[in-house]
Symmetry: C3
Subunit: 175 residues, 3 copies
């Protein structure tokens, strides 16, 4: 395989089945599988959620943590013939904002990496901009940055799906 | 009619036209119509909303209240040839959580009932997981449980539609 | 052109690419372009956002402000052969609510104007009803009114699209 494999963005709400859908896409893949985890186990609730996600994935997956630097681990893993799942962009953005990193730079580096790598890439992200405008300044800024990230990542991906109630709606189809 | 009638989940946001869409589905039905109401008139705002919904429905409907136990009323009403509208799952979940009932058990019993009954069933539910993660613990737990419920009910239904601006997008089609 | 031009409602979340999509629709239009701006520069954040939007639009656009009275400016601008972009209904509704105007009357006048005018009309609106029910009374009322407005405007439009990650899903197609 000398062509680039397709890149997919999976968008959806809380507990909508985004990660399950992503893992389904990996099932028939014959090459190596890498899971890039952006979650930090800040509290018990999150630790439990990470544990449940790991249990669901088989031994076929190698797991890599990427709390802040996401572009380089993605470049390292998404080589020809490889399948890389990034779950999820929303937590990664939270980490970047809380660490007071330059978020524009971080997004640009991510978008460039997605465009460059030859491997199959699936990115999971939350849609968080469909509720009432939050009163909290940081929440409002996060909501804007998250919308911008989804739009820019969606533009560089070949396929974009929106998940609701565990079911996909196609926003963009490859080819 | 000896086959099971189809089951439909109608998902959408606040005032998106979910209930109207559900009532439209009932218009051409020739058998008995049952409305299973999960709303409690906690305050004036809710009492007024319930009253408006009732006015819109014709005398053809029998109304049954189901604040906490939903599976059994659904089994009782959704007999062969009957049409049952459950409006809505989100309020029912709120009732179950506030009453400190076991929410996993409640959802499992509901999903089993939907799968078993021979009648036509239409369930209305709010999508609440597409905004910013709420700071309030109970709200966050509710958001997760609501997402999980939509996914599990969606899996057992034959048809799932997402309503925005009064218009349906099909997520899952029967047959 | 003696027939009425089509009316389009563009719905979506924060920073989803709604305005960009609306501006794309105008690109191939050969007649006059009017931008009806409903935003008030309450603070620096908003002033900056308005400035960025203006920079993106070319000199081909005439800009009209419509903070509270929207129906009349729309009637004035959307003459035969003209293209009018209203951006956005959500901010306009906020203005109407904060000014304690009669919101039902305002919506009815807007819907009547959209139905009457012969020009091409594109309206941008936020979907805000897909998050957790807000605790704040005004926010809850706003959420309900916004949902109702989207439904009523969607009903009078020929085309309704939902934007996520910069990509359109068609809810209603003309003809």
């Amino acid at each position: 395989m000398s062509d680039k494999a397709i890149k997919t963005l999976i968008l959806g709400g809380a507990r909508s089945g985004k990660s399950r859908h992503a893992e389904l896409l990996a099932e028939s893949w014959e090459g190596p599988l890498t899971f890039i985890a952006t979650a930090q186990a800040h509290d018990e609730e999150m630790a439990e959620r990470i544990r449940r996600h790991q249990e669901r994935r088989s031994d076929r997956w190698e797991t890599v943590g990427a709390m802040l630097d996401l572009a380089q681990p993605l470049r390292d893993a998404a080589t020809e013939g490889a399948f890389v799942l990034v779950d999820c962009l929303t937590l990664w953005l939270t980490n970047v904002l809380l660490a007071e990193r330059n978020v524009e730079t971080a997004i640009s580096e991510l978008v460039a990496a997605i465009g460059d790598v030859p491997g199959r890439v699936v990115l999971v992200s939350n849609e968080v901009g469909l509720g009432i405008v939050p009163e909290n300044d940081l929440a409002r800024r996060f909501r804007d940055v998250a919308g911008e990230t989804n739009r820019r990542v969606g533009a560089v991906c070949d396929e974009v799906v929106f998940i609701a109630a565990g079911l996909p709606m196609t926003l963009k189809s490859p080819g």
